[in-house]
Amino acid sequence: MTSTAWDSALGAEHRARLTRIAREVSFPAGTRLFEEGRRADRFWIVRAGTVALDIHVPGRRAAVVETLGRGELVGWSWYFPPYEWHLGAETTSTVQAYEFDAATVRLLCEEDAGFGRAVASWVGGVVADRLRATRIRLLDLYAPYGSGDLT
């Protein structure tokens, strides 16, 4: 199997440490995991299934901006103050995941600098990847003339 984002971004030792404090959870399709503006007190690693990240738009169905699949981190707002979700999240299929208590993980990061650096690098990498992906999608590359008019 191809190494997943979770597999490739964190060393085995740090993954094992996180896994020891994880809860194995399962959600049916259509479960709201979190809502924009609420307290970000948990996060998840998807083991199977898909989660959609969305933005509430008044008078319209929530706009899905990205989906996350196997091995991917659902939620990074738990890592940065003020620990509030920037988006909403909903399962689009049955999802199996590792669930983590955010405060516990932050405390582990403070107690063990090596572990803290690894988690910071992982979460920062996830944020950077999503920023990169968003910028590429902003180009609307698949439109007839890609990123704009011909010169």
């Binding site: 199997m1 191809t2 190494s3 997943t4 984002a5 490739s8 898909t50 959609a52 169905r61 899905v64 901006v65 990205e66 989906t67 996350l68 699949g69 196997r70 091995g71 991917e72 689009t92 990169r132 992906a133 590429i136 999608r137 180009l139 609307d140 590359l141 698949y142 439109a143 007839p144 003339y145 890609g146 990123s147």
Partner: protein
């Protein structure tokens, strides 16, 4: 390969999306082009309008299918063709995907937008020779659900039951879309391939090719096993006019398919 267009007649046309049509062509007379292989292209001449390069999107017995997106005068004329109309064809040109070079390895096909068209015959060839390769994967990115090419075929492949792992993602979902949303590279986590023993084939907008190739190399694929199809302004098809020059390569002859080991540096030079 011919220098003079060979007349072909339109057997049938099939709308793929709002602006894209698949055109099935057969020789109008006794003359026919040499056999095509996946990834090679023809110069397709809309009489009285002009000529453009178009890869084959299906290779049948005595028939060629070209999938054309209407973005200019010539492509619009091709999209307006009806059964019985005639066009001129030159070719086959270019290097092609060269699937046999991937024998024994997993096959990873990554397509963006209309880039799926030249990759479809490669996927069909891989499926036709399942014992020659590891598991084939097809990852597709599109602008919206309505822009997904060959939607029925992809849906059948994605439904499973066959050896192909197929997944589709879109940039802009419709309210009824229940599939993936995001960059095509985000589908890589769920594909089944061994980076150390995989050949990847990538076609799409150049920025998408760069992002995909870099991610594949980051995951451990050798750059020369990431085959990318590049597009430049091809005119003559015979490496004489220089319109398709990219660095030291003339893409109508040396491409359009080249290895990422060669393409990587060329694609970072502006106005090259």
């Amino acid at each position: 390969m011919t220098g003079v267009p060979v007349p072909y007649r339109v057997v049938r046309t099939r709308p793929e999306t709002a602006d894209t049509v698949s055109i099935t062509l057969a020789p109008a007379g006794t003359a026919a082009l040499a056999p095509f292989t996946p990834g090679r292209f023809a110069m397709v001449y809309a009489f009285g309008v002009g000529e453009i390069p178009v890869s084959v999107s299906r290779i049948g017995a005595g028939e060629l299918v070209h999938t054309v997106r209407s973005v200019g005068a010539v492509s619009a004329a091709l999209c307006a063709l009806r059964p019985g109309d005639r066009v001129g064809l030159r070719g086959p040109f270019g290097t092609g995907w060269e699937l046999p070079r991937a024998a024994g390895r997993d096959v990873l096909v990554v397509a963006g937008g209309i880039g799926l068209a030249p990759l479809r015959p490669l996927v069909l060839a891989a499926l036709a020779a399942p014992d020659a390769h590891g598991r084939p994967n097809l990852l597709v990115g599109a602008r919206t659900p309505g822009d997904v090419l060959y939607a029925k075929q992809l849906s059948d492949w994605a439904a499973g039951g066959g050896p192909l792992h197929c997944a589709v993602t879109v940039d802009r979902p419709s309210p009824t879309w229940r599939g993936r949303v995001g960059l095509v590279t985000e589908l890589l986590n769920e594909a089944w391939f061994d980076p150390a023993n995989t050949t990847a084939f990538v076609c799409g907008p150049e920025a998408m090719i760069r992002a995909t190739a870099r991610e594949l190399v980051r995951r451990g694929l050798a750059p020369d096993r990431v085959r990318v199809s590049l597009e430049r302004n091809m005119r003559c098809g015979t490496a004489h006019c220089g319109h398709c020059q990219l660095g030291g390569a003339l893409l109508c002859r040396d491409g359009p398919v080249i290895g990422w080991d060669l393409a990587r540096d060329l694609l970072t030079v502006r106005e090259l």
